[in-house]
Amino acid sequence: MKEPSIRRRIIYDKVFKIIIILLTFCSILPMFFIFFFITSKGISVTNWKFLTQLPKPVGEIGGGISNAIIGTFMLIGIATAFSVPVGILAGIFLSENRKGKLASLTRLCVETLQGVPSIVIGIIAYIWLVVSMGSFSALSGGLALGLMMLPVIITATEQTLKLIPGSLKEASLALGVSYPRTILKVILPAGVSGIVTGVLLSIARVAGETAPLLFTAFGSPFMNLNVLKPINSLPLMIFNYATSPYPEWHTLAWGASFILIILVLGLNLFTKVVTKRWKVQF
């Protein structure tokens, strides 16, 4: 029986460790490239005019992304308005019913919904709202984004509430507080940190989504505040401009990318800070 020498085994061990470390650090290089590239190309375009003007037609110099910024916020607003109440209620339902057929089925549906590709969500919002309304709209775009936020909020709510010790519920019930009031005034406030984190993270997820908006919100060169009309958003604009043949538009797209990445990363950072500050200790 040939036994590899100890020296050889030690060499293998060291080489392996080096390979692992190398590959790990290599994999985060793209992050630096992307960030560096976008910042260098985008920051020169970004100025106050850029943020407050409407995009100009092809051939004209200048223009801005104001409608895309407003559109992004409007779409997020619509999505949040619908997904947060439904999501929190469903999350409470799941955390208050650990066992039970309906709860298990619901959990399965939440997991499945989480995995639905974003373009399919766009198709659904198209079928449900665009076809019935006869036109593209901010509403349908907001619905699509809301459907994507829903599973994240539900899961965050359920997991947060599950961690709250049962003694809190008992203390409230023993004071003669009704069950609905106990849930809404004691349990929910105790879990506010985790729930808000879930909401913020889901917003960060959908702020950068394009596919579900391609044939729902559709995009628009104008400023639009009407939820029943098509609306632009930052990712949509980036997609349209980046794939266009006009170099001026490419430049705008870099600027828009810069703004978008700051928005998304800033939101992630903000979420971390908020979570820490509002966390309730038990």
Partner: protein, 252 residues
């Protein structure tokens, strides 16, 4: 002749098919401390949870028999109203972590949507904290969250919270088992002072505590009420052999 605040008549409790309390009949005297003792699993915690109707919150739980609070059948009343008249303090102190000390004490009113004038609230908070022997220690920090308090102080906060509702009976479920000896003796002193204002039912597995503090004692074994009587007599001359065996430490 002692007057009775709680009359328990042939009361049984079940977890599904499993019978945990067997036709317990007991008259809890008013303004006295009644200790309920017994080995673990004997049903003493279930008994007091039936008194404030918390037992039925467990899925599959069932009861039979009657319990009267001042002549009212508590199982014929809305459980929420029963729980407002019968307060409970738990083994592990559980103040509401997101609320200030002030809000914790007045929580029974706030959470129930009862609107009170500010000075009335202040009065109730101060009264309850004084009765719980906590006022002097926290009066300067009423609006801070209660999490900085020691275990014993947190438990007194929970007592104040229960007292603020003006209950007729206060149920204490092993209130000192999670506390150190110094805090334990503070709470025991407090309980003795409180009996003037509320009737107290104290569940404890600590025989010495029961002997120190209670006026009356009940011994529960395997779901049955084995013996009940004045503490002095019960600890020195128990009538039932099982009581004697328990008191001698033959089983715990």
């Amino acid at each position: 002749m002692e007057s009775t605040v709680l009359k328990i008549e042939k009361f049984s409790a079940f977890f599904g098919e499993n019978q945990v309390l067997k036709e317990v009949s007991l008259s809890v005297p008013q303004n006295r401390i009644t200790a309920i003792m017994g080995p673990s699993g004997c049903g003493k915690t279930t008994l007091i949870r039936c008194i404030n109707r918390m037992h039925e919150l467990i899925p599959g739980a069932r009861v039979s028999g009657k319990i009267f609070l001042d002549q009212e059948d508590i199982y014929a009343t809305d459980p929420i109203i029963v729980r407002r008249q019968i307060g409970m303090v738990f083994q592990k102190p559980n103040p509401f972590p997101m609320m200030s000390i002030y809000d914790n004490v007045i929580a029974g009113y706030n959470l129930n949507g009862i609107r009170l004038a500010k000075d009335e609230k202040d009065r109730i908070v101060e009264e309850s904290l004084r009765k719980a022997a906590l006022w002097e220690e926290v009066k300067g920090a009423l609006y801070r969250r209660g999490t900085f308090l020691s275990g014993g102080q947190q438990q007194r906060l929970c007592i104040a919270r229960a007292l603020a509702m003006g209950p007729a009976v206060l149920l204490l479920d092993e209130p000192t088992s999670a506390l150190d000896p110094k805090a334990t003796s503070h709470i025991e002193e407090l309980i003795v002072q409180l009996k003037d204002t509320v009737s107290i039912v104290l569940v404890t597995h600590n025989m010495a505590q029961a002997a120190r503090v209670s006026d009356f004692a009940a011994f529960v074994y395997l779901g049955e009420l084995v013996e009940f009587g004045p503490s002095g007599k019960m600890f020195t001359a128990p009538r039932d052999k099982r009581t004697e065996a328990y008191l001698m430490g033959k089983f715990g």
